[in-house]
Symmetry: C2
Subunit: 340 residues, 2 copies
């Protein structure tokens, strides 16, 4: 018989139905990604093509050099096909407009691409920890730099890796979008975490972390500042959370010197995933508090990795919001832990 | 510039970013599904294979005949790989168990397959209205029949059509799952609809329906009892809602004689979708109230059709819950309305 498990922080139930379950290799990516060259003539993110993207918003150039020239290690540029665009009027007053009984707003916000590496064929799992640290540092800088725009209430940072994860370009990149609203999805999670805090007196995420580090059943790896584990109520096979040990609602409050340990944990998690399941597609998402709630005691920033394996989000998941997961988080964690 | 639109009933915002948008044919299914035979030797749902499925739970046999023999027009059978399974102990007391700080439950519930037609190669878009009515009637019967199990708090009825929608078998079928919990996803929607009712004094869904029937901008088709429209805050291209004109929270309260008009509306919507976009994969989900809330004035059952086209739910959607839709609902409705 399957079982239902509740996420302690969000109160969402998932179904763990492992009757059909199987070895990690049954979930492995069937075919390796086609090899690509170090440079790609048509790639807008490759060096020497800097003029194709909009003017860079941030860059790492250890040897110096002018903006929008090839001497970079990392660049942040505007998304060419933005979901939202910055506008001076929005920053003053993000106005709700009526359309019949409905509300609408202009699509104000920032939508940026973090070009993570000059090499077209690089992957995050294959980078050095220092290269990954530069990426996380760029997230951190953009989070700070965009804080002054009073219409930015929430920054969502995410990475789509591979076609199944929604990536249209192979060149290593992640994205960020700032919104002037805190969506229902996040508001509900904040509310549930606050309820937990009111009932129990502690941060639900701190309690999860403490339990996972003690039981070790779902723990994948750990260093001084971070733990990586398969959450008890994983909604998808091989889901991982990379969680800072120190309680902070917003990742923007992270001291810069703690970025290295985060990079080490994230790189380790992705390298294990790539090795165990033959470089599968995945999304990762940074879950952090809205800007104005950076100091709350009940929320705790973390990064969620969702691999795209054989299973699909279908009608039941869409209709009920309940995920069906056919790999137990304990088995997933064991396999990932024993990899490398 | 894109725009944000709010779903009046759920308060969820979506981004409508049509800058890249394009003609319906850009979204059409690139290749028609491979043709299949009327009968398939390995299909567990084809006639003469009745013994492969579990014993039937419901069937339509206009010419009579014994259960689990070939003379059926429609059969409901247990799912061979159930996410949840019925259990007599659960019906008495669905017990929450502690596992460290977490809650878990046995996976109790019903998971059934509605085998919609004897022909392996039939599609819902290609069936007669009477054949579709039989399917909806079987949903209705199972909703009533399973109401007596006190552990069934919610029935989710859904259809996965095509591989991208998560279907593993081609034979026309839909599924139902009953759960002993009302998940956060549904609870939040009920709460938001109840808030609307408290603030405005009317059902948000009734107000949406009234506006859509009056403005006609997003209306696709209409008959005596039902309207089909593209919702104002569609999260995906060519999303459609099939909504009963008469307010009822639970579709179980529908009088049987209103099933025919529902079948006509649903079949019309799916036939247009198949014709306009070359038979794309889709999910549909019946959104209905939990059993104990059948009489509430603030909820309104309806059926949601989500086509699987070129776009993917990626990191931003996973992290923020905000959908990015690159086809305006007005353009989608116009194209669907003008089809056939």
């Amino acid at each position: 018989m399957s079982e239902l498990r509740q996420n302690l922080a969000t109160r969402e139930w998932v179904i763990i139905a492992t009757e059909r379950a199987s070895k990690p290799m049954d979930f492995a990516n069937p075919a390796a990604k086609a090899p690509v060259a170090e440079r790609e003539a048509n790639c807008p993110f490759c060096p020497v093509h800097e003029a194709i993207t909009g003017p860079e918003l941030f860059a790492v150039r250890p040897e110096g050099g002018r903006p929008d020239t090839p001497s970079w290690r990392l660049r942040v540029v505007p998304n060419k096909f933005p979901a939202l665009t910055p506008s001076p009027t929005c920053a003053i007053l993000p106005q709700r407009l009526k359309e019949g009984p409905y509300l609408r707003m202009d699509g104000c916000g920032h939508h940026e691409v973090i070009v993570e590496h000059p090499r077209h064929d690089q992957t995050l799992a294959g980078m050095t920890v220092e290269e990954v640290r530069l990426i996380l540092e760029s997230y951190w800088h953009r989070h700070h730099q965009l804080a002054s725009d009073c219409n930015n209430h929430l920054m969502t940072i995410f990475r789509n890796y591979g076609e199944k994860a929604g990536a249209s370009l192979r060149h290593p990149h992640s994205q960020l979008i700032t919104t002037g609203i805190v969506p229902l999805h996040i508001r509900t999670r904040l509310y549930e975490a606050q309820r937990y805090f009111d009932d129990v007196g502690t941060c639900a995420y701190c309690d999860i972390l403490r339990h996972e580090m003690k039981s070790k059943e779902r723990l994948i790896l750990e260093n001084d500042g971070y733990a990586v584990f398969a959450p008890y109520a994983s909604g998808t096979p091989y889901e991982m959370w990379v969680m800072p040990k120190r309680h902070r609602a917003s990742f923007g409050d992270l001291p810069q010197e703690e970025l290295g340990a985060w990079a080490e944990a994230l790189q380790g998690a992705l390298a294990r995933l790539a090795k165990l399941l033959n470089d599968p597609d995945y999304n990762y998402v940074l879950q952090t508090s809205p800007y104005p709630l950076a100091a709350v005691p009940f929320y705790h920033w973390h990064l969620v990795i969702i691999p795209h394996l054989k299973t699909k989000r279908a009608g039941f998941e869409i209709g009920s919001g309940i995920s069906i997961n056919i790999v137990s988080p304990e088995a997933a964690a064991r396999a990932l832990r024993e990899t490398l």
